[in-house]
């Protein structure tokens, strides 16, 4: 079958679509949204998206894995007798916050002080040591392993419900995830025997769902589907917050801006716990069985209080932490908002940044879409709405299901499914959420593909040598948006050798990067001499990221070993 057949697609769109539906396609991928606190599954059932419920009829399942003597169990199948059970030290949760982070990351060190299981940090730029309490002994695990165990449960649930083998998934991820975190997630899926068809930023999934709704509305009202609507998506869950600006018309959602950060309900919880028990870090430091228990008690009480503060103006907290320590306090909404001022401020500045990046004016926003559990918090809602100068929230979307529904739509699209009703004539055109560039001009980060570039993308910048007779150049690739290079995330490095003897500033080192449709990043570098036509040595092509967990250390070692001897400067700067 043929090549032939594939190639004879006519230029006409209708036949191209027929071609797509008749070609042998893989199974329909299921949509998976593993949140920091909750998880859900959905699939395109042939005419619409359907959420898959577990055996306890839940659509939203808690994200945790409990380690025991026998095999571990996760929140998909396990029934908690009480929330304290999840906080006994035997369960590992918040893995989405922890995956792919090193022990110098503030997110990790915060977590190590407030979570009941063990997160040991040495603060040297390596993977933290994570362990669960099994039979009164700390047994080590990794966020990837916890993810994989959880995914195995999800996989068997999906297979049970769909009565077929499930291999392909579309997984939603926060916009803030680094490429390194994405590789860790992909690895966890592989460990669970799942193939990731797409890792989709959560707002992109929501955008797809929104595009479908707009399309359906237009069909019903027979209005002009060409008219474009601008929407702002604000997604705040337990672990991460994303903002996206999308322009939607005719089933196509084009992302204008995407921004994400690691703040969420977990930060509100940790801040409030610290407020209730200022000496908390010392109090829980020894991590004995008693401390773990009190930590659990405090956590549950704080969580309840925060939930209540979404609908009432004050809440009474009474907890007995044992050893004569009692907390009895009334917290009102104002106090709560003051304690978490920073978090709300960060939400606001993320929105502002995204608006600026996307060059969309506030008055052009048609819809504000709120997604994620934290958007129920009055202060969060008000922050978003007041920046957007809107009074009404877009109502067509369930904030807790939007991402997984979008992922299921993408699962159907990626599987080549078409819908006679036109419900799958959809597309999201995505942008990358972090700039990707290299270290050059001393210790600066020089972006090659700037953030918010439409993907797939390909960009190139020409550099030159920093020293006379420099024969080698070190290309160190970073992802991030900080000017100081070391504050960004190192993705990998390689050396360009064979630069001909020349004065500094003469040889040209072309560094080209591309990101393909599946978000694969490729970095290429070649040396060309003025007047020459071809690269003087074979160019280098590297798929990134290549750096592993110790990338922080690695950058230090590179710096110590080579200093500035293999530095590059941008050619533009040279000319200036």
């Amino acid at each position: 079958m043929s090549q032939e057949q594939v190639y004879t697609v006519a230029s006409d769109s209708d036949t191209a679509e027929d071609e797509r539906s008749s070609a042998p396609f893989p199974e329909i991928a299921i949509g998976v949204d593993i949140g920091t606190s909750q998880c859900s599954l959905a699939v395109w059932n042939g005419s619409q998206v359907e959420l898959i419920r577990n055996t306890r009829n839940q659509k939203l399942m808690k994200s945790y894995v409990t380690f025991r003597d026998e095999s571990p169990v996760g929140g998909v199948t396990n029934q908690l007798s009480h929330e304290y059970e999840m906080l006994s030290g035997a369960s590992v949760f918040n893995m989405k916050r922890l995956i792919g982070r090193i022990d110098t990351d503030p997110v990790v060190s915060q977590a190590s002080k407030t979570l009941p299981f063990l997160i040991q940090t040495l603060g040297i730029g390596v993977k933290p040591f994570i362990a669960a309490l099994v039979n009164n002994m700390w047994r080590s695990t990794t966020p990837e392993e916890v993810f994989a165990i959880y995914l195995v449960e999800l996989k068997s649930l999906a297979q049970l419900r769909l009565k077929r083998p499930v291999r392909n998934i579309v997984l939603t991820v926060p916009a803030a995830f680094s490429r390194f975190q994405l590789t860790r997630i992909t690895r966890a899926c592989a460990m669970a025997g799942l193939h990731v068809l797409r890792l989709m930023p959560e707002p992109a999934a929501v955008a797809l769902l929104y595009a479908q709704q707009q399309q359906q509305q237009n069909q019903q009202s027979l209005s002009d589907s060409g008219s474009e609507k601008i929407a702002l998506i604000f997604n705040m869950g337990a672990g991460y917050t994303d903002v996206a600006i999308i322009a939607t018309a005719g089933g196509v959602s084009q992302m204008k801006g995407l921004a994400g950060t690691t703040i969420g309900g977990e930060d509100l919880l940790q801040n409030t716990m610290h407020y209730l028990l200022p000496d908390m870090d010392n109090f829980f430091a020894s991590r004995g069985v008693h401390e773990i228990k009190s930590m659990g008690v405090l956590r549950v009480a704080t969580q309840d209080a925060i939930h209540k503060l979404s609908s009432q103006s004050k809440v009474q907290i009474d907890v007995d932490l044992g050893n004569g320590i009692n907390i009895s306090k009334i917290i009102d909404l104002e106090e709560f908002e003051e304690v978490n001022k920073d978090v709300f401020q960060k939400c606001g500045s993320l929105i502002t940044r995204c608006l600026n990046d996307s060059k969309v004016k506030i008055e052009h926003i048609d819809d504000v879409i709120l997604v994620g559990g934290c958007t129920n918090i009055p202060k969060v809602k008000n922050t978003v709405m007041s920046i957007c100068k809107k009074t009404e929230i877009y109502s067509g979307i369930n904030p807790l299901e939007a991402a997984v529904r979008g992922a299921a739509l993408e699962g159907a699209l990626a599987g080549g499914v078409t819908d006679p009703m036109g419900n799958l004539d959809l597309l999201t055109i995505q942008v990358n959420s972090h700039s990707i560039g290299i270290r050059a001009d001393k210790d600066s980060f020089v972006p090659i593909i700037p953030r918010n570039t439409t993907m797939p993308a390909r960009r190139e910048v020409v550099f030159t040598t920093a020293h006379d007779h420099q024969r080698e150049a070190l290309i160190v690739v970073y992802e991030g948006d900080e000017e100081a290079v070391e504050k960004n995330h190192m993705l990998g490095y390689f050396k360009v050798v064979g630069i001909p003897l020349a004065s500094r500033g003469v040889p040209e080192i072309n560094v080209c990067m591309d990101i393909d449709a599946s978000n694969m990043l490729r970095v290429m570098a070649a040396v060309v001499m003025p007047g020459g036509e071809n690269p003087v040595v074979p160019p280098v092509e590297v798929r990134m990221p290549t750096a592993d967990d110790g990338h922080g250390l690695c950058a230090d070692v590179l710096n110590r070993s080579f200093g500035a001897t293999m530095d590059l400067v941008t050619l533009r700067n040279k000319a200036a």
Binding site: S13, A249, G416, L427, V462, G532, P539, R572
Partner: protein, 200 residues
């Protein structure tokens, strides 16, 4: 889908016809220009219509694409409004985004989409569009022929990226020799650079 706006179908090259002389022209001929994609060659003076006519016998579709102006690439006349540009872009995206590509052709669609994107980004920004129009009116074009490259590319193996890139580099090289004149580097790349310089 709303894929039948009149102005789209009028232009014979839109959608750019898919490769039908399949054995002869390997997919990657569209991937020839990873750097400053596609945009550059749009300045060639040869009209799209002529190119298509040649195309019937010996010119690959991808070469045609490279010869197209941004307007031709989007299948719109030069007089269109920004709303129409957006509509045309979204329709082409709907067709050529790699997410909707038939199996095995994601790479080809990726190249195509990147070109469409470049055209859209230029034409949808009024000041960049004005500059592009001015440059086009002045007939700025490349000093070297992309055709030569495409001929060499015919016997290139599908996934031979490196080889392609090398040949592009030599093209680049030639362009950068004329950097001072500012006329021979990719138009979009130059614009990007100018903007960077302004903002830095």
């Amino acid at each position: 889908m709303c894929c039948s706006h009149g102005f789209i179908s009028k232009i014979p090259t839109t959608p750019p016809p898919l490769v039908s002389r399949r054995t002869h022209f390997a997919i990657p001929s569209t991937i020839r220009l990873p750097i400053a994609t596609g945009s550059a060659r749009s300045f060639r003076t040869k009209s799209a219509a002529t190119a298509v006519k040649d195309g019937g016998s010996s010119v690959s579709e991808s070469t045609v694409m490279e010869d197209l102006s941004f307007y031709e690439l989007l299948g719109i006349p030069e007089t269109v409004t920004s709303v129409e540009i957006k509509q045309a872009y979204k329709q082409l995206a709907r067709k050529y985004h790699p997410d909707v590509s038939p199996p095995g052709r994601a790479e080809e669609y990726t190249q195509r989409f990147i070109r469409v994107q470049e055209a859209y980004e230029t034409l949808s920004d009024p000041s960049r569009r004005a500059m592009y129009d001015r440059d086009m009116a002045m007939g700025i074009h490349f000093a070297f022929s992309s055709r030569n490259h495409s001929r060499n590319d015919e016997n290139m193996v599908k996934s031979e990226w490196r080889g392609q890139w090398q040949s592009q580099l030599s093209g680049l090289r030639r362009r950068s020799m004329h950097k001072e004149s500012g006329k021979n580097s990719s138009w979009a790349a130059r614009m990007r650079k100018q903007r960077e310089e302004c903002s830095s």
